[in-house]
């Protein structure tokens, strides 16, 4: 099989049945070929280790403290599961958690959907209009949360809409959509438009072409958008404060309200559970995607970076196609 290694690192293969196949190589094989080679020395591993310690040390402390019988963070009072037991009996916190999760998932799904449709639409606009639309989309991103929260509160007040679950959900969707669009647009820009046109040439209607060709191409962007909006929604305090009213409360509101006295140790237990859940979800997702990536049914390797190496599914780092 003739291999033509060009300096851009793209190999063109000819398979047995004469179909030329392009395989994107992530990095050339020769060491020292490029300045930033993948030589993993002890230095870079140490650096990586330090970063992970920084990220995860507070969480590890939190997890350890959730089993601490003493209420103080300073001393160890013995191992206990008391905080977990009390957590499940605490109506306030469970209520807040339920609201938080429902709002987070709903707003993430709706915002991602709206984000996909908006991105595809914005991408199809003429250049000048696209730039204007992107500027408009960015305005909610850079507006401080406080301004967004108060203006939404005033809006609902003027429209005589009572603040509650619906207003909370609407507010979350409102601040999530720009982030969803921001996550999906880059993938659209990277996408090869000729695929879309080729699909139409082969008989797809435009809608089918979008659904069967474009969406799978921008799939990583959609997943990023979903995860980002989910996290932003769970994390949000200021906007939730002004739009939740007296009907519902979220986890962030409950935790912040403990600032004057001291954070109830049950929150440590709750945070541990949330972290462990997210951790396992991500591990599962990463294992699934990296095992699916091996080969397609035809035995042809799908195009993708670094397909030969199967990297360890570090939590939180997605193997992007």
């Amino acid at each position: 099989m003739p291999e033509k290694a060009s300096y851009t690192g793209i190999k063109e293969n000819e398979t047995g049945n004469g179909v030329k196949e392009r395989e994107m190589k992530s990095l050339p094989d020769k060491k020292n070929a490029l300045p930033l080679s993948r030589r993993s020395g002890a230095g870079s591993n140490l650096y990586l280790g330090i970063i992970f310690v920084f990220l995860y040390a507070p969480i590890v402390v939190l997890i350890i403290n959730s089993f601490n019988a003493a209420k103080s963070r300073a001393v160890w009072g013995g191992f206990t599961l008391e905080w977990y037991r009390k957590l499940f009996e605490n109506a306030d916190i469970i209520d807040a958690l339920r609201t938080t999760i429902i709002v987070a998932i709903l707003s993430a799904v709706i915002a991602t959907l709206a984000g996909v449709l908006s991105s595809v639409g914005i991408y199809a606009l003429p250049r000048r209009w696209r730039k204007i639309m992107m500027q408009i989309t960015n305005i909610p991103n850079i507006t401080p949360d406080l301004v967004t929260g108060i203006s939404l509160m005033l809006l609902f007040y003027f429209m005589r809409v009572q603040t509650g679950f619906v207003t909370l959900l609407l507010a979350h969707i409102a601040f999530n959509i720009p982030f969803a669009i921001l996550s999906i647009m880059p993938k659209l820009r990277q996408m090869d438009m000729s695929l879309y046109e080729a699909a139409q040439d082969l008989g797809c209607t435009p809608a089918q072409a979008v659904r069967k060709v474009m969406i799978p191409e921008i799939r990583p962007g959609i997943i990023t958008a979903f995860i980002l909006t989910l996290t932003l929604s769970i994390d949000d305090f200021v906007i939730s404060y002004f739009t939740a009213g007296n009907q519902v409360t979220t986890l962030a509101l409950t935790i912040y309200s403990m600032a004057r006295k001291s954070v109830n140790p049950q929150i440590n237990a709750l945070s541990t559970l949330m972290f462990v859940t997210v951790f396992f979800l991500l591990v599962i997702i990463n294992i699934r995607t990296s095992s699916k990536k091996k080969t397609t049914p035809n035995g042809i390797l799908p195009a993708g970076k670094g397909n030969g190496r199967r990297a360890f599914p570090w939590p939180g780092i997605k193997q992007m196609k």
Binding site: K86, D92, I94, G245, A259
Partner: protein
């Protein structure tokens, strides 16, 4: 991607369903229930069933909101929490609550702006019977009429004082309760890096003023100047650690020798020391003359919808067992006469938590007028910037 999303949503749905099953079930009965919205500070009411060892005596705590709903089944209580008077004030503009728990200066402001409705004392027999009249003697506002009017609109819930908290093993107890003696360790450079000051405008500047013998509400420029110089000197020579909640743990772990604290904080610290198996008497609390006293009171906003329910709730909070439970859980001082009788003597006999009439006459609340707020705000910003 679809399957992953489905998986995630399914997992979440299972989690939510399991949460819905355990805990969090409100008392459903077929009768007509009216909603009652309570807006309180976070962690400021007994909400869990537990046996607490409070200074050697065991107290059975329970969820007082659940108890209230049992006693008054016609009410369905929604309990919301805040952490700051100003944020509560902002919420009141657009959201209706039935009972709120502002601090003294915020109540004065709300009354001035007609945001509270007067209480019907006929519906609050427990308050009339059990409320400690001593709190009425404190000059809560500069205007005597306003102070008297305060108690027509609100009822005290818990009060606290600001004082010196110190490690007995490292610092000798103050000789008298004169502010000069009491606050001295905070400004002593021998205690460098081991002092904790509150990251709060009024507490920090107030301590400086009190130490110099001035009123904590003064607008006299010379006095304020002197206090600021003192604080800046303290920062340079003593390097205090600024914080609020974090300071408690630092006292428990022994990192700090002395600091400013609320009386309730000291109770919490002693309980934590006890939990950890250490001697709670290691950390002590002294209230100097002229220091701050503040009270959190229950009031009914004018936009409240369930006024009858609000009165019933306030009356219920003044049931003896309920007041005891709240005082034990929160750790602050209770204005309920019978509850005080049931709390441990070591707490209620301590003048620093429950000051007698002589000491109370010297204590000052923080006045909050636009002038004072602005002046102190500027000073605090200057202090933080230097």
């Amino acid at each position: 991607m679809k399957r992953i999303k489905l998986l995630a949503v399914l997992l979440a749905a299972i989690m939510v369903a399991s949460l819905a099953a355990c805990g969090g079930s409100e008392g459903q009965n077929g009768n007509e229930q009216t909603k009652l919205y309570i807006y309180n500070w976070g962690e400021y009411m007994s909400r869990e069933s537990d046996t607490w060892d409070f200074y050697g005596t065991d107290y059975e705590l329970s969820d007082v909101i659940a108890d209230f709903e049992d006693a008054y089944p016609q009410y369905d209580v929604e309990y919301r929490m805040f952490d700051d008077n100003e944020m509560m004030y902002a919420q009141l503009a657009t959201v209706s609550y039935d009972v709120i728990f502002p601090s003294d200066y915020m109540i004065a402001r709300l009354i001035r702006e007609d945001k509270l409705q007067p209480l019907d004392m006929e519906k609050l027999p427990n308050v009339t019977e059990y409320m400690d009249p001593m709190l009425k003697d404190v000059a809560w506002t500069p205007d005597a009429d306003e102070t008297a009017a305060l108690f027509d609109y609100a009822v005290p819930y818990l009060y606290c004082t600001v004082g010196l908290i110190y490690n007995q093993d490292e610092i000798a107890s103050p000789a008298t309760n004169d502010p000069r003696d009491v606050w001295a360790p905070l400004f002593d450079s021998a205690n460098q890096n081991r002092i904790g000051m509150y990251n709060s405008m009024r507490e920090s500047i107030g301590v400086g003023l009190n130490y110099l013998g001035y009123s904590m509400n003064t607008l006299n420029e010379a006095e304020l100047e002197e206090a600021m110089e003192l604080l800046i000197e303290q920062r340079q020579q003593v390097a205090p650690i600024l914080g609020i909640d974090e300071l408690k743990d630092k006292f428990v772990s022994g990192e700090l020798t002395a600091g400013v604290a609320w009386s309730g904080d000291h109770v919490v610290i002693q309980q934590r020391l006890q939990d950890a198996g250490q001697d709670p008497e290691m950390i002590r609390y002294t209230l100097p003359k002229g220091s701050n006293i503040s009270v959190d009171m229950m009031a009914i906003p004018s936009s409240a919808e369930n006024v009858q329910g609000a009165h019933d709730f306030i009356n219920f909070m003044y049931e003896t067992e309920v007041a005891v439970k709240n005082a034990v859980y929160v750790g602050y001082s209770s204005p309920h006469l019978e509850a005080v009788a049931e709390l441990p003597q070591v707490v209620t006999g301590n003048e620093s938590y429950y000051p007698g009439p002589d000491l109370i006459a010297t204590l000052e609340p923080y006045y909050s007028t636009p002038e004072i707020d602005q002046t102190y705000d500027n000073l605090w910003v200057q202090y933080l910037a230097n």
